[in-house]
């Protein structure tokens, strides 16, 4: 039987040299939901995602994915296990074409027919990418690059997709579009772990949210509840 929780983080501690960036957080990601981490700069959101993806090592704590311990496993192993990260700053391959970028996402997959289907699916989510298929990644606009980064992550057919500030630096119209797509991806069966500074947008599509402050979780609750919370309103929503 599959675990109900796809990802469990238990008492995670991450240090950058002597800086204690993440100070023992506990996060549970139930299968098929959208979970959001919000918080100000330096709260440890990106560090948490990087640690799950294997880009930085934790000092203490456990990360359990599908019942398996993936703590401090290298990134390529984590990717194979079924976790994809849309990294901060997009990190697309600028001198590869859109098509090649997408195929890099499916690099470890062998099922050619399914890859083709997924490519079509990704193009149905972001029709604009199809128009740009043979263009170099570096020549896309910021919004298109974000779409490419999300699509590339989806091409590995992950069970869990983690996104680091997908709305950062996008025009307001595009922000809504990105959040719509995240909902759509989720409704088609992929669990989403979202990190955002845009708290309103993120919380309104989330099932559950955690508020981080200087490496600790200070508040947690269902998305709508956090949206109504006075503290959250004051600190993050500017209302």
């Amino acid at each position: 039987m599959q675990n109900e929780n796809i990802l469990e983080i238990k008492d995670l501690h991450v240090y950058y040299g002597s800086i204690h960036a993440v100070k023992g957080i506990n996060v549970i990601v139930p299968r098929g939901k959208i979970i959001t981490l919000i918080g100000a700069n330096g709260a440890g959101k990106t560090t948490t995602l990087s640690c799950i993806a294997g880009l930085v090592k934790s000092k203490r704590g456990e990360i359990i994915f599908n019942g398996n311990d993936i703590t401090n496993k290298p990134s390529h192993i984590v990717n194979l296990a079924g976790i994809a990260l849309v990294p901060e700053g997009r990190r697309i391959f600028p001198n590869l074409t859109v098509y090649e970028n997408l195929m890099m996402g499916a690099y470890k997959r062998k099922d050619k027919e399914k890859i083709k289907q997924d490519l079509e699916w990704v193009f149905s989510l972001f029709p604009r990418l199809k128009e740009r298929i043979s263009q170099l990644g570096g020549t896309l606009s910021g919004g298109e690059q974000q779409m490419l980064a999300i699509s590339r992550a989806l091409m590995s057919k992950p069970q869990l997709i983690m996104m680091d500030e997908p709305s950062l630096g996008l025009a307001p119209v595009l922000v809504d579009e990105v959040f719509d797509v995240i909902k759509k991806i989720n409704s088609e069966g992929t669990t989403v772990l979202l990190v955002e500074q845009n708290a309103v947008g993120a919380l309104s599509i989330s099932d559950f949210g955690y508020v981080l402050e200087t490496g600790r979780i200070v508040l947690e609750g269902p998305g709508e509840e956090l949206l109504k919370n006075e503290e959250v309103k004051k600190a993050y929503l500017g209302i």
Binding site: P74, S75, H76, L80, P94
Partner: protein
């Protein structure tokens, strides 16, 4: 986008290879031995450049240890083609190691073994070196190449130390040199075109993103490093049987050679295989042609009865600097000379003329 069918492209490729072979045949029949030596050197330099390009340009590992692999290939193959009696008579200071003394094979096997030996050393060196990145990797690889050279200088009973190996048969002819260049190009082009090669490009573009795509970056880098070193070893074997005398000197098989190759690669365009070939050929030609400057010559009424020693390198450097100013990504940039690009070029050319 204009494209040619794959069948046409294959036909054209076969045609051009046959055409080149015919040109080389003519050259081997009618050119004097001095010119033939230059033609052979062009191919050797091109192999060196293409193999370094795989490591530096395509995978993006800034390795400065290429001369070390060339040295290993050169010594391995030379020790295998020298006859036992030649070895006994040239090892004066310390007698040759008896195992090495009796090893003897033909040129082809010696070349392959030279490449394999270089690849083996790349495997050993790659483990520690590829854990580093950027400048640190460059310095470490440069250091390893020097270690290899110093070893060659001191392992008296194996390499004959500073005396070097002399009387190596001049086996490298036009067919071996250009044949190996063809093999190198075909192998590395098909590698780059495969999904494996695309992963190497992705690593160059963004290591972290590549790792996130499930690519085992270290393993890919190591394999690229080993393949590059293999062809460096092959070029070393050809080089040894072209020079006929090899010594572990800084200029012939030391860091200076690495920097020469780096110049060829950057001149042609870092990351472009066609660029490396053109870079290697151009470099060999320039180095020979500019020898004129070191012979007696007269310029603007000034007579230099002995020429100016070293002026050649000065001029090469100037050409290099000017190239970098006007084409800062090299002659080809990251582009390749493909049938499609040639076709598009002519198409545009025709349109322009038609427009007039």
């Amino acid at each position: 986008m204009e494209k040619l069918s794959n069948k046409t492209k294959t036909m054209l490729t076969i045609f051009i290879i046959v055409f080149f072979a015919f040109l080389l045949f003519l050259a081997s029949r009618y050119l004097d031995s001095y010119r033939l030596r230059i033609i052979n050197l062009m191919a050797i330099y091109a192999i060196m450049a293409v193999s370094l390009n795989l490591i530096n340009g395509i995978t993006g590992i800034l390795s400065l240890g290429h001369a070390g692999f060339i040295l290993i290939g050169a010594y391995t193959s030379a020790l295998l083609t020298l006859t036992p009696s030649q070895k006994v008579s040239s090892f004066i200071i310390e007698p040759v190691n008896p195992i090495i003394q009796n090893l003897h094979t033909n040129f082809f096997v010696a070349t392959i073994l030279g490449g394999l030996m270089a690849a083996f050393f790349a495997f050993l060196i790659g483990w520690p070196v590829l854990k580093l990145s950027g400048d640190y990797l460059a310095i470490a690889s440069l250091g390893f190449a020097e270690v290899i050279r110093i070893l060659a200088l001191n392992a008296q009973s194996i390499t004959n130390g500073a005396l070097g190996l002399k009387g190596i048969p001049e086996y490298t002819n036009i067919w071996w040199a250009w044949g190996w260049l063809l093999v190198t190009i075909v192998f590395i082009v098909s590698l780059v075109k495969s999904s494996y090669g695309r992963a190497l490009l992705a690593i160059r573009e963004d290591r972290i993103a590549a790792e996130l795509m499930g690519i085992n970056v270290f393993k890919h880098e190591l394999i690229s490093f080993i393949i590059g070193a293999f062809f460096a070893g092959i070029s070393g074997a050809l080089y040894a049987h072209w020079l006929t005398t090899i010594e572990p000197k800084i200029t012939t098989l030391g860091p200076i050679l690495t920097f020469y190759i780096l110049i060829m690669v950057v001149l042609g365009g870092l990351g472009s295989i066609s660029g490396s070939v053109v870079g290697g050929i151009t470099f060999a030609l320039l180095m020979e042609w500019l020898r004129n400057l070191e012979d007696p010559f007269t310029i603007f009424g000034l007579n230099f009865p002995n020429g100016i020693k070293g002026l050649r390198l000065l001029v090469i450097s100037t050409i290099f600097i000017l190239t970098m100013i006007f084409w800062n990504r090299g002659i080809f940039g990251r582009n390749e000379l493909t049938w499609d690009s040639i076709y598009r070029f002519f198409k545009r050319f025709k349109k322009k003329r038609g427009g007039k």
